[in-house]
Amino acid sequence: MAETILTLADTELTLAGNAGPVEILKGVTLDVARGETVGLVGPSGSGKSSLLMVMGGLERATGGTVHALGHDLTAMNEDALARFRRSHMGVVFQSFHLIPTMTALENVATPLELARHGDAFERAAAELEAVGLGHRMHHYPSELSGGEQQRVALARAAAPRPEILLADEPTGNLDGPTGHAIMDLLFGLNARHGSTLILVTHAPDLAARCGRTIRLEDGRLARNAEAAE
């Protein structure tokens, strides 16, 4: 049995809303093993993205615990979480979220710089070459197409070789063929670097490519099924 890399125990998330507190996650318990590919599926508003954010320490759980690589994310402050992500996690968003004031190369180099890698720019350039953007390194996000921006985001997430890669509907804003190309890249990176991939998606075919699919309904785990391989 592979080592458990991520453990959620009775995790809850309640956010303040205009009409009172909104319970988003209502006690989620799950383990993810190293090297796994997990698809998070469920209807809109079921809490998939929130669960992913809690896993990445981008959102603080209001109940239960979240352990990643032996660290209790719920006990860490903002900066400790940032440092943890810097070394162990990559995140890809539906809307790419590149820094608009930085070129593609600078965007990819930033996490490497923050982790004090002396060869940040060389590695960033290699990473961009790997996603087929060697010719667009010095372009700003506003000068890139959606597919290109998502490839930069992928390169940025993968560059520090994170043990855990979180992706929140990474093809949601892309057309079919571009989306497929991105997914091929994502799964390719995952296979090559042996990282753990947790993916939020609406697309059944994408979920089907994952080793395990977890379904969320109204903030709770509905089914914990091994996908047929």
């Binding site: 981008l58 959102e59 900066d79 979480l81 608009p100 004031t101 600078e106 520090p160």
Partner: protein, 838 residues
């Protein structure tokens, strides 16, 4: 209803529902600029009105007739008495002596009719008759002078050869319109007590004024004409209550015109904030505009709709600005009245408000037209792409033309209304140059930051590289900050450099070339003794010249002012001299000096620069009224006269035969070592009590004090410009909060700590502030150099202290503004921000 109106109405309604959030900086910038101009204009009008109301008191009568170093003749007195009640005043400079101590004073000798208007207030309280009674005769003195001489009430002092007793200190002198601008503080005595002082001798420099109380309803013009008919060509000067203090009035008008120019600079700075706000607003409206275009709205309709919306907000800003600018003088009325040596009728002056509103509206139109015009070019397709700002390139030609026209109108209005068109044009040119320089700098800074960010040496320093990336990146922040803050700081830097150089020229450079003493009222039989001082080893040299005072009344037989217009040479009486040969170091620029011993028709040598300004040519004839006698002469030479070194300089010199016969005195300048000054004064004053010695250093200090006051007023004005710059800055910082929150969230996601992010924010603001400060210093130094060299004709030296203050100020301001808005982005939770964008 016009669809544009409907759109504008809905947009406005929406804007008001959200508290005009996007327009707060717009409102603040425009309202502040308008308020500053309105406030300056209101104070100017208040002083003008105050001077007009108090004209008779300030002048000392309904009208005043002034003679230069003579009393009115019996016939003239009779003519004056025919007009109304008369009071005679004698005014001249002299030395007060207490033991061995001496000080310069302005003596005012009056009769018992003084003052015709207003009240003379003395301490201890008493009437003029009480204060001047007794033997030795009583006198009142400015407290400053009494204190300097250590004189107490009841103690005696000497004027010329006569002893007086101090009976009172002067608290208020109603007709002292100069408000303390004189060189010597006042001593007040009775004219009849002048007898025995030996101070009024033939040729002594003194003025007599005959103040008139005219019967109620007297037509002042008619009175002036009546007097002219009785006393033609008598060389007197008529003034009446309509302009009781012309010097002060002119000074106030000049200063306020200059302050309005500074206010306009503030409006230009605010304009950048206005333009940024409208640009941001139009970017936000991209989807609306694209949708409306999809629905069939024409570009013209959309332009009109948004122009109407912006117009309504402008109107609101004008109202706010006028309310603030109109109210400020009212609120600070006690303080203003207290500080001003002259009366001010603080009130609301519609004319000043109209002027401010005009400037404000023109500036708003100028700065909003461009982004409005560009927004028209937004295409319907923008709906389907992520919008990254307004379309690039220039607006359509019509709008470019309109922008040019608006700029011209604004500059023309300022030139016309300020009354100092040349300076206005220089200022406008300077501002435009600074604006372009700052635009160029902003562009260069972005390119440089981008280039630096890619250098291997900065890689790995994530905070610095992120800061460089932000400065060099595609957001418009660098441009807005460098422009607004840079322009505000430029105005302040220019004022600082000009002030530092002007003060240096007067306080540092002038004493090096200026004489130690300026001696006046030297009788012809005393001049040889004065000249003999040159043998004193501590005296470097002595220059002396005979001196008369005369009014240039006619040029080629016609009224001088009609021929040559208003010029300081023609205003009042001027010093006139004579010399058999050109004085040493004289440069004749045209014509020839009269031969030695010349005895033919009178000849005149005129100062070359002033002659050119007056349009005089060789061969022109001049009529100069000296002591009521007309002396006519032909201009036969022009020569260079340097008025900048406080030496002897006469605009007008004549051949000796023309003037020798008239009673006159000599003036002399003594160039001596500072340590010898006191001894020389003691010697001369002991020997010749009638001679008045003006210590040039004291005069320089007095001028410096006045200049310091003027500089302070202008610095306050310029600070208002910086406040507007700061508002723009805060606006830019606030507007960028959303972008920085987003950026901080991504940075946190990829592993940046809050310290790293905060350092990066601080660095980017510091870089922008530093650049703005540096450019402002260069621009300010350029302006300072231009003004020093070309307008004040002195040398220019860079003032490092002022420059350092500007740079430090720039960095601190941007840091403060930036960091004030850094907390939100730093505290934001990445998940909330990033998911909100999905």
């Amino acid at each position: 209803m016009n669809p544009a109106l409907n759109i504008a109405r809905r947009e406005l309604r929406n804007g008001f529902r959200h508290g005009l959030r996007g327009f707060r900086v717009f409102l603040a910038c425009l309202a502040l600029g308008i308020a500053a101009i309105a406030a300056v204009g209101s104070v100017r009008e208040a002083i003008t009105e105050g001077l007009a109301r108090e004209g008779a008191t300030l002048l000392g009568g309904d009208a005043s007739v002034e003679f230069t170093y003579r009393f009115a003749t019996e016939a003239e007195r009779a003519a004056l008495a025919d007009l109304g009640e008369v009071s005679e005043i004698v005014d001249f400079r002299s030395m007060v002596r207490v033991g061995e101590d001496r000080a310069l004073t302005e003596i005012k000798a009056v009769d018992d009719a003084y003052p015709i208007y207003g009240d003379l207030r003395l301490d201890p309280p008493q009437t003029l008759a009480q204060a001047t009674a007794g033997d030795p005769p009583g006198a009142a003195m400015d407290p400053v002078l009494a204190d300097r001489l250590g004189l107490d009430i009841g103690e005696t002092f000497t004027l010329g050869e006569k002893t007086f007793r101090l009976t009172a200190r002067i608290v208020a002198e109603p007709d002292n319109a100069a408000g303390g601008f004189e060189l010597g503080p006042r001593t007040l005595i009775l004219t009849e007590d002048l007898e025995g002082t030996g101070l009024i001798q033939p040729g002594t420099l003194y003025e007599t004024e005959y103040r008139l109380r005219l019967p109620e309803g007297t037509d002042l013009d008619a009175a002036e004409e009546n007097l002219a008919a009785v006393m033609p060509d008598e060389g007197y000067r008529w003034r009446d209550r309509r302009n009781g203090a012309p010097g002060i009035q002119a000074f106030v008008e000049r200063l306020s015109a200059f302050l309005v120019l500074v206010g306009l600079a503030g409006l230009a700075v605010g304009g950048i904030g206005v333009a940024s706000a409208v640009r941001a607003h139009m970017v936000e409206k991209t989807a609306t505009i694209a949708t409306l275009k999809t629905l069939g709205a024409e570009a013209r309709t959309l332009f009109l709709a948004f122009a109407l919306q912006i117009g309504a907000v402008t109107a609101l800003a004008v109202v706010l600005g006028l309310a603030l600018g109109g109210a400020l003088p009212l609120v600070f009325a006690p303080l203003i009245k207290d500080r001003l040596p002259i009366p001010a009728a603080i009130s609301v002056y519609p004319l000043a408000l109209v002027e401010a509103a005009l400037y404000g509206t023109l500036a708003a139109a100028l700065f909003t037209l461009w982004p409005l015009a560009k927004a028209q070019d937004i295409r319907a397709a923008a709906l389907f792409r992520e919008a990254g700002g307004l379309p690039g390139g220039l607006p359509r030609r019509g709008y470019l033309l309109a922008t040019g026209l608006l700029l011209l109108t604004l500059v023309a209005a300022a030139a016309l209304l300020s009354g100092i068109p040349t300076l206005t044009l220089y200022t406008a040119g300077g501002l435009l140059a600074a604006f372009l320089a700052l635009l160029g700098t902003a562009w260069a800074v972005r390119r440089t930051a981008r280039w630096l960010g890619r250098l291997p040496m900065f890689q790995g320093r994530s905070s610095l590289r992120m800061a460089l990336g932000a400065v060099g990146g595609p957001s418009g922040e660098a441009g807005a900050v460098v422009l607004s803050l840079g322009l505000g700081l430029t105005v302040l830097a220019a004022v600082g450099q000009i002030d530092a150089n002007l003060r240096a020229a007067i306080q540092r450079d002038l004493p090096e070339v200026a004489p130690a003493y300026f001696m006046v009222d030297i009788q012809p039989d005393q001049i040889d003794t004065i000249r003999a001082l040159e043998d004193d080893p501590q005296v470097e040299r002595i220059e002396a010249a005979p001196m008369l005072r005369g009014i240039i009344t006619e040029i080629n037989g016609q009224d001088a002012e009609t021929v040559a217009g208003e010029h300081w040479v023609l205003r009042g009486d001027r010093g006139v001299t004579y010399a058999p040969t050109p004085p040493p170091d004289t440069t004749i620029t045209a014509g020839e000096w009269w031969p030695e011993g010349y005895d033919g028709p009178n000849q005149v040598s005129f100062a070359a620069e002033e002659a050119a300004e007056l349009g005089l040519e060789l061969g022109d004839s001049l009529t100069v009224n000296v002591l009521g006698r007309d002396i006519e002469g032909e201009i036969t030479s022009f020569r260079e006269v340097d008025f900048s070194n406080a030496g002897i300089g006469f605009v007008l010199s004549m051949n000796p035969a023309a003037l020798q016969g008239a009673p006159h005195t000599w003036i002399a300048t003594i160039y001596a070592a500072p340590e010898a000054e006191a001894r020389i004064l003691r010697d001369i004053a002991g020997q010749f009590p009638n001679i008045t010695a003006i210590r040039v250093r004291d005069a320089i200090d007095r001028v410096s004090e006045i200049l310091a006051g003027v500089a302070a007023a202008i610095t306050y004005g310029a600070s208002a410009t910086l406040v507007t710059g700061a508002v723009v800055l805060i606006g830019a910082a606030a507007a960028g909060t959303r972008a920085r929150t987003y950026e901080a969230s991504i940075l946190k996601t990829v592993g940046a700590s809050r310290t790293t992010i905060l350092t990066s924010f601080a660095l980017r603001w510091a870089i922008l502030g530093l650049v703005a400060g540096l450019v402002a210093t260069v621009a300010g130094a350029t302006a300072g150099w231009g003004v020093s060299v070309y307008i004040m004709e002195t040398s220019y030296r860079f003032a490092p202290l002022s420059a350092l203050t500007i740079i430090a100020g720039g960095v601190s301001l941007t840091l403060l503004a930036g960091l004030a808005f850094a907390w939100g982005p730093l505290a934001a939770r990445p998940a909330r921000i990033l998911r909100a964008q999905d």
